[in-house]
Structure formats: C-alpha cells, structure tokens
C-alpha cells in the first residue's frame, strides 16, 4: 500500500479577517488551525495581551502525545507618531508567524528578519 503523502498547510491570514474577530475568537481560531497542523502567517499580529493569552491557552491544550505547543514569531509593534500618542492611538502589532512546535522551528529573529524552518515528517507520535 502506498504511503499517504500529506503536505503542510501554510495559510496567510488577512488583516481584514483578523479585525473581524474578537480577541477570544481570534485565539480560538489560531489554536484550532495550529492544532490541525497548519502554519499561519497573520498579516496583523497579536497584541501583547493576546500573545500572553495564546500562550496560556496553548498550555491548557498540550496533551504531550499529539500537541506539544506552538512556535511563534512576530515583529514588534508599529511605531506611533507624537500626535498619535497624544490622542491615545494604540500601537498595532505587525506580521506574525504561528505554527505547531513539532512542524515549525524558529531559527533566528531580529528587527528585520524572522528565520524559520519547517520540519516535515516530524510529529510528536
């Protein structure tokens, strides 16, 4: 019997889609996709509070046999100008990549580049 080949899904999620979701809907959506083995690139990243909640929710979902957690990397928040700060404009997080830790590995990250590698055929089982 031929071995079933399964590719790795790599999904780019638009800013519009993310803006239409509440924080909890966004986190639920991301974790569901990542648990299904998909790697997501969010055009508009998560706020620090959302990132912390995502880590917390991830820890609750880890079952050690099928899901060991997530790999996540994003650029910092967009800089706001003087007048935006005065008028309380919230800094917006930038592009972020999130995937299952058994498939996605962060190699290096700095202000200009996020370097990742995808590990095909590496599962937790």
């Amino acid at each position: 019997m031929a071995k079933k080949e399964k590719g790795i899904s790599f999904n780019l999620i638009s800013r519009q889609k993310l803006n239409d979701l509440s924080s909890s809907e966004k986190l639920k959506y991301i974790l569901k996709e990542v648990r299904q083995g998909r790697i997501l690139v969010l055009e508009h990243g998560l706020t620090p509070t959302e990132q912390t909640s995502l880590i917390e929710n991830t820890m609750k979902e880890i079952d050690h046999d099928t899901f060991i957690g997530i790999e996540m990397g994003g650029y910092g928040e967009e800089k706001t100008g003087f007048f935006q700060r005065v008028f309380g404009v919230i800094k917006k997080p930038r592009m972020t990549v999130i995937g299952p830790a058994h498939l996605l590995k962060m190699i290096h990250k700095d202000n200009d580049k996020i370097e990742t590698t995808i590990i095909p055929g590496r599962g937790v089982n």
Binding site: T47, P48, T49, Q51, T52, I55, E56, T58, M59, K60, I62, H64, I68, G69, I70, E71, M72, G73, G74, G76, E77, A101, H102, M106, H108, K109, D110, N111, V124
Partner: protein
Amino acid sequence: MGIFSIFKRGKFSSIIQKIFGKKHAKIGIYGPPNVGKTTLANRILREWTGDIMGSVSDIPHETRRAKWKTNIKIDNGGSSLVMDLVDTPGIATKIDFKEFMNTYGLNKEESRMRAKEATEGVIESIRWLEDIDGVVLVMDSTKDPFTQVNVTIIGNLEARNLPILIAANKIDADEASPATLKSAFPQHPVVPISALTGYNTEDLYNTMVKHFGKKRNKKRG
C-alpha cells in the same frame, strides 16, 4: 478626620508613597526556562536575608510552582526598597516531554509528569503578571534575545506600564554578549550579571532600588 487618625490608619505612609514613589513592591522574576531565575532569586535572598528560594538544575522547568518571600529589604546606601520577591516558573510556548527523556535522561514517567507540571507552571506565571508591581526579566546573555517569550513578556508589561529591569545573566560564560541585549531592548535598563558567581549584583541591586522605587501609574491588563 484628624491628622492622628490618618497616621494611625496607615494612610500617611500611603500618601508619602504616592508622592515620592513606591518603596514596597511586589517584584516578579520572569523569563524563559533555564536562564537562571531561581539562581538569581537565591542570590538575592542569600545576600539580604540568608535564606534561599528553591532548588536549581540544568534540566529546564526545575521551578514548576511560583515561590515567594516577603519583606526583603535591599539598600543602596541612601535609599532602600522593601519587596516581596516572586520566583516564577519559566515561560515557554512549547513543552515536549521527549526532550526531558532524550536530552536529560529522565525516564518516560518522570518526563511526562515534569512536562505536565511545567505547563501548569507557565499558566501560573502568566497569572502572576496581574498581581505584581515590577519585573526582573532574566535573559541568557549567551543566547538570541529576540525570543517570543522575551518579546511577549516585555510587550505585556509595557502595556500595563510596569517597570522592567533586564538582568543579562550568565555573563561569566565565554560566549556572553550583554551588548546584544542592550541594543535589543534600549528602552529598559539592562544590567549584566552572573547570578552564579555574584558578578555585578551590586549594580543590579542599585538599579532595582532606583527603578522599582519610582512613582508609576499602573494600568490594568
């Protein structure tokens, strides 16, 4: 209400604190696993109280429950800071029990238990963020500073307007590069230290007193 009753109810000291800044603060020691958080907590306690916080190990996630000690007074000559110190479990985005087996030689049962407790520890660390006044963020100065855990903790604390002091630990190692940490996070004080040998901890204590003693308006997360 007379002056005496204000004084008696402890409001006088709180008024003084509001004017001149915080002199009693709850400080959390945070960071990824294996950067030396408990080694630093032990160093601070040993030097100022003669006590220790907990055990240390080369195996990640040795601290899996938050531990704390209250009323630790540190001085820098003219001024001082009284703090409750919280040593938190390392924050991670992934925990694989197989790493404990394959890299550190633990058996399967020990590894699974350690991993399970470690996930609970991460959740506990995150929940403590709600209840602290400032953070000593410990980073390994031999490693890449832009980890998601570092970036997430810093972003979260900045959103709450909480003071962060970065302890660039393991400065005694040959490959340490505290300059990289300083350039990565120029908006926060970075103090190179070795929690293991005690190198430059005097500078860390001075910075803690100055930095955590400042008046700030804490925002809710």
